[in-house]
Amino acid sequence: MERSAEPADTGASTVAAGLQRVTEGRLAYLDLEDLLNELLDATVEILGADTAAMLLVEDDGRTLAARAAKGLEAEVERGFRLPIGAGFAGAVAATLKPVVIEDLDQSPVQVVNPLFREVGVRSLLGVPLVVEGRLVGVLHVGTLEPRPFSEDDIHLLQTVADRAALSIEHHRLALSHRVVEALQRGLLPERLPHIPELSFAARYVPATEAASVGGDWYDVVPLRDGRIAVAVGDVAGHGVAAASLMGELRTALRVYGLDGLDAAHTIEKLARFVSDRGIVSMATCAYATVDLDRSRVTLATAGHPPPLLVSPDGTQFVDQAAGPPLGASGHHEYEQTEFAIGPGELLLLYTDGLIERRGHRLSDGLAELAVVASDAPLDAELMCERVIAALPPDGSDDVAVLTIQNVATANGALALRLSARPDQLIVVRRALRRWLAGSDATDADVSATVIAANEACSNAIEHAYALSEASFGVEAQRGHDTVEVTVRDSGSWREPRGDHRGRGLSLMRATMDEVEVAPSTGGTTVRLVRRLGREEL
């Protein structure tokens, strides 16, 4: 590249345009390499230079590494590095002052990089990139003809460097924030499990202050004995460390819960897990198991704000026997509280980011939450949405919200919508057994109804084999002395084939008084009716 050795073209518009390029908002979205190259293009243009290079401070804080270059590309390709204090760029970095080399051939400054001479650079101007007093890197420009850099040139390059430093720093922070957020989102459940008698919804809003994204989590875990475990937690601290610890706690809690322990013992084990690992951070947690058979919830908490129980008749905070946060020193025992969750009632779990606002009392936040929740629609999804909208996170802390609603209908009918998978058959059987328990149906009635419904559902699941996201529906109603079950699918009925395939249908016919199969283009509806009061199938 041939250029005449002239002072920089300080035409105001060129400079302004150049500086504009250095601070454009879109620079925030480029990856670091592209960002640096954009910055160097602008620098070369503004200064009228032949070469430019950006060196950034490495993680060790003592070394500069060439990250981008124009006219000196080999510098990056060769992975050029030098200690702060050595050579030209090192001198800039060490002194935090501009350094000028008017003519490389006569320079008293030791130039370490052989590339300058290879390319034929004669004059160099280097300035430090500083953010809040901290060295971020070095920006230098060079010319192939000797050039007396003026005070204006130095000032101009420093201005460019200042703006560039901010862009780079902002980029690094945003990247770190994105990494943590991705890590956290990766650790949170993608989809809540589908349990027919319960409706769930969750929201997770990470802190916007990059330094504060931390370790809030929520989880829903069906346990082996049919209970459903729900949890929210909050790990103190922020960044990758907090997110990692959150992942560990979430996993440990799942494992302990699946061991079948009650809520208090599960939290105790989790507390011991934290202290045994020598984990210094503290965490809070609210853990509850929902027993659908008895419509009761058992709750144990560790340093966590009280869950809210919302019902058509009123809203109140659960009177919890709160234990200390996980990681609090000493051995601790935890208590559990049990309470009812009737049809339509909703339990709201959350982390303190929802109720804490700088400058406001915690009790005010709790009171506000109760008011918002009691006015909100009594629906898991809508409640979540309303709560977040009415108490918007201020960005200083993560917020996690989890709602659980008992949606067993109060009018005596049963209505389920399930994914068309064989592992859902047990859900139908349990729901039907629960629904018929305590009624005037005999054991034989219950057994017969469950057998027939299971077969109809099994067929529905088989029909749906071709559909990827198929679901099927089960409705059950009581008549005066009958029970009627209807199974609907949207697949296509296939005539039973082979020796064994007709057994499902014959089981239905043997156990129910009426079996009606109505195939249509939209799907199949199977209607089963049994007159109650018999002692045999």
């Binding site: 592992d423 058959l425 059987r429 099994s458 064994h500 057994r503 499902g504 089981l507 043997a510």
Partner: protein
């Protein structure tokens, strides 16, 4: 296998006994069938499937039993079942006339004795 059922294998007087505790339905019948088939050795005179702790069986489970009986018959072996009386399993097996292909016993001892006699 899903958490629905547990599979256990033991020997009684040299006869393989496959025990299933829990529920058998379309979600686990295939795997249970496979495990039972794997438990039949060349030296076996027959197979005992202990369903006395099976709390539920559906048409998929029934299918596996019929299938099993057929396979064993082709090898000249017998299938003996243990079912609790009364139980859902027993009632359902009655409904589908499973005793046309397998002998049912109220206890493991009775099933073992039946195989000993062969």
């Amino acid at each position: 296998m899903s958490d629905l059922a547990n599979f256990g294998l033991e020997q009684r007087n040299g006869h393989p006994v496959a025990r299933i505790t829990g529920e058998i339905d379309a979600s686990n019948a295939e795997e249970i069938g496979r495990r039972i088939r794997d438990s039949v050795t060349n030296q076996a005179l027959g197979l005992i499937v202990d369903l006395s702790h099976t709390t539920y069986i559906d048409s998929a489970g029934i299918r596996l039993l019929f299938d099993l009986a057929g396979r064993l018959e082709r090898r000249g072996l017998e299938l003996h079942l243990v079912t609790a009386e009364p139980s859902q399993v027993a009632e359902v097996l009655d409904l589908v006339s499973l005793d046309s292909v397998a002998e049912r016993h109220p206890s493991l001892a009775a099933a073992t004795a039946a195989l000993d006699q062969d």
